[in-house]
Structures are given as structure tokens and as C-alpha cells.
Amino acid sequence: MGGYGDVQLLRDDGKRLDGRALDELRPVTVEAGVLPAADGSARVTHGLNVAVVAVYGPMEAHPRKIQRQDRAVIDVRYNMAPFSTSDRIRPGFNRRSREISKVTAEALESVVLVERFPRSKIRVEIEILAAEAGTRCVGITAAAVALADAGIPMRDLIVGVASGKIEDTVVLDLDKAEDNYGQADLPVGILPNTGEVAFLQMDGDLSPDEFNLAMEYNFKAAGEIHDIMVEALQRRYEGGEA
């Protein structure tokens, strides 16, 4: 949230700079099973964001000190490729990627039936190939599809989606300009079938009414993205019989 200053983010006709309505998502595509070497994988494009996720496991957790006797641990590595933004990103982990890896792992742990795999580890590698605001949400969405593709049991397909505030107006799915110059950002991880929230962060300030409206946008968008995720998984195995 860089503060909006004099930057105009809403057009005179009430639409956003890229022509979207206030509650309109950027185009989303999902593809399952894109990496043959991984146990499960997915590619998600969301606007100009591109994320590829590979899932390995469950496998024996190493080092042994991270093992849990009653459940699996989820080891998430979120990484942005050096060429993913206009300014080259120094390769390797940094404070931001560690934070996103941690919150993503916690979101996924509440969805995956980790108690089925004691002492095990499920590795989730999230690689952001192109970034245009909202990469942590795209990473969560792609991770859910990749986990399902790997045959990992889950309570639901978690969906990552964000709303925010620009020019004192609540909008869905911030793009780069809105993220940089807007007033607030509210990324959440939603379980569409149960209506639960597994992950929520807020950057900036929202009044209770704005917060409720932002969550309403998020839930609506989560339903739309969930449909695309289910369709992608079905498309991968379409025409099949058990």
C-alpha cells in the first residue's frame, strides 16, 4: 500500500483503469498436471500472474526434528522467479517469501487431512513466473489444485482471492497499480464448500462495513474460481471410467 496520492484509479464512469467493474475478477485459467516429474502439479494464470506449483509426497519428513508423531507437516516454498517482475529479483529466499511460505503452509494445513500421514512431509513448491499483484492468492489456488492432482486427501479445495480499497471504494482483485497506490488489501483463503476462511491478512485500514463488503466480494469470487479449479481437474481426466 503505497498510498494513493494523486493517482487516479477509478475512471469517471465508475469503472477501474483496466475497464473492470468493482466486483469483477481478472481472467483466471487453471491447468492441472503440467509437470510430469511431480506427484501433482498445476499452473494458474490470474490476470498477468503466472504460478506453477509442484507437490511431492507424502514422504518421510527430514530432518527428523521437524517430524510430528501424529500428523504430516506441509513444507511450502514460495519463490518468485528473478524475471517475474519489471525489476529483477535477487534469486533465493528473502523475508517476504519466507513469510508467504509460512502463511501458505498454515492455510494448507487446515485443509489437508494431515493426521492421515504421521511423521510425513508434503512438499509444495510454488514458483511465481510472472507477478502482477496477488501472487500469494494465486499460489494458494494453484497449490490446492496440485495437491488434489497428487491425490492428497483434503476437506475442500481452498481458493486464494483478494479484495481491497482504492479511492475510498472497495474493489475485488487488485491489479498492480491498485495494489501499489490503493489504500487497503485483504487477501483471504476460502473453503468454498464449507464457507470457512483458512487464511486472512489485511494491509491498510478498512471500516467494518468496508470489510464486510470486501469479504462478500471475496466469497463471490471464490465460488467462481472454485468452478474453474474443478473444471480443470475434470478436464485432465475427462472421458474416464473407473
Binding site: 506427484d39 501433482g40 509426497g57 507424502p58 514422504m59 518421510e60 508423531q69 487431512l113 500421514f117 504421521p118 511423521r119 510425513s120 488434489a148 492432482d149 497428487a150 491425490g151 492428497i152 486427501p153 483434503m154 476437506r155 475442500d156 479445495l157 476460502i190 473453503l191 468454498p192 464448500n193 464449507t194 464457507g195 464486510n212 463488503l213 470486501a214 469479504m215 462478500e216 471475496n218 466469497f219 463471490k220 471464490a222 465460488g223 472454485h226 468452478d227 479449479m229 474443478v230 481437474l233 475434470q234 481426466y237 475427462e238 472421458g239 474416464g240 471410467e241 473407473a242
Partner: protein, 241 residues
Amino acid sequence: MGWRLGRIGENRMSQGQTGAEQRLVTPGMAVGPSAGMRAGSGIIAKNDEFIATRLGWLQTQHNTVSVNPINAAYMPRSGDLVVGVVAEVRNNLWFLNINGSFQGLLPMSLAPWKVEFGAARIYMDVGDVVLARVQEVDECHNVVLTMKGVGLRKLNQGAVLDVPVQHVDRIRGANNERLQTLRDLSDCRIMVGENGRVWVDGSSDGIAWTRNALQRVTNEGHKTDFDALMAELEQLNKGDA
């Protein structure tokens, strides 16, 4: 709370089928009421409803609803016949890679030879392939293997091929009928481990034919009628699969 809509996917829950009888379900999808039915593998009961937890085909047999997963990791069970690869050797035991989350432990007391302490490496070294059986699995997934039993041995020749674990039962067929068909067609000795490893021994042509046939099973086994695939394989001459 206006945003707490809950159960957003409720209207879509009955969707997701690709055939008249077989439903492809995804995690979180409601698959029907739980009244009078039992939850099988890949299903949890919540609020009088069954929820799928895995990606796979929905099955109902004998009042039990379950999901036949499209992808699955090997979970060892006592009595499983497995093809293992020696991964580590200690003074009195071997650790075998059995294609599961954890290595299997083969103590020298359950080996088919009389092994002196410290001489385990003389009998089997890292990389050797063995046919073993799962003796015991505890709640923490520790796996103990045995090589004491009819047919359990070190495999000194042939090739080891990988197939998806969820296709093993279908490759074998009822009473190993399909497996016998594969043996007849390839003129090879074939052993199918529960862990998705297949040992094949015979002529190089026979092994190549079996490799191609199993590759087709791997690629198409989840979506093609399996009997039709096997019938098609039967029609193909050796080396043409």
C-alpha cells in the same frame, strides 16, 4: 455478517460427473446423504452428508460410499507383496525403498539366509532388488519386511518397471487372470508388487513388450475401459504394443 454466505458451492455440488454412472469427484464435493450408508475410503461424513476428500471416481458398493482415487501414494499394509530396492545396509539389517513414504526395515532374522552380525552387506548391498512381504506396519508407519516365505527372494535378473499404485489390482485382475494373460502374451515371468513395482524377466523382446504394455496402462488406465485396453493388447503382436 453479510459476507458469511457459507456453502457457496452448494448448488454446484451435484455437478462434476463425466458419465451416467461414474462421477468424478474433487475434494470438498458433497456426494450424497449419509443416512443408511457407510463412509468408505476417501469419504468423510459431515452434517448428515458425505464429502469427498480425494480426486477420483465415486463408488457405491454394499452400502459403502468410497472414492477410487486417480492418484495415490503407496500405503503399506501387513501381508503386501512388494518389490523393494536396498537403500541402506547396517550391521544387522537392511533398509529397503518400497516406493512408500517410509523405507521398510528388513532385519537379518527375517532374511532367508543365516547372516552373521556385520556381514549383511555380503548377502545384499545397496541397489539390490528383492521380493519381500510386509510383516508389520505400526501406527507411526514403521514398516517391517520379511523374506521368509514361499517365493520371496533376491531378484538377480530381469527388469523392474513402475506402474501407478491404484492400477495394481486392475492389472492383476480377479484371481490374477489379467496378470496371467500378460505373462502368456509376453512369455515373461512377471511379479506385480502391491507397491506399484513390477518385476519382469524373460527375453529382451518380451520385457520390451511388457514395458510398452504397462506404459499404456499407466497413461490410459485411469480413463479407458480396462478390459478393452487388455483386449487391445492381446490383439497386438509381441513388440508392436
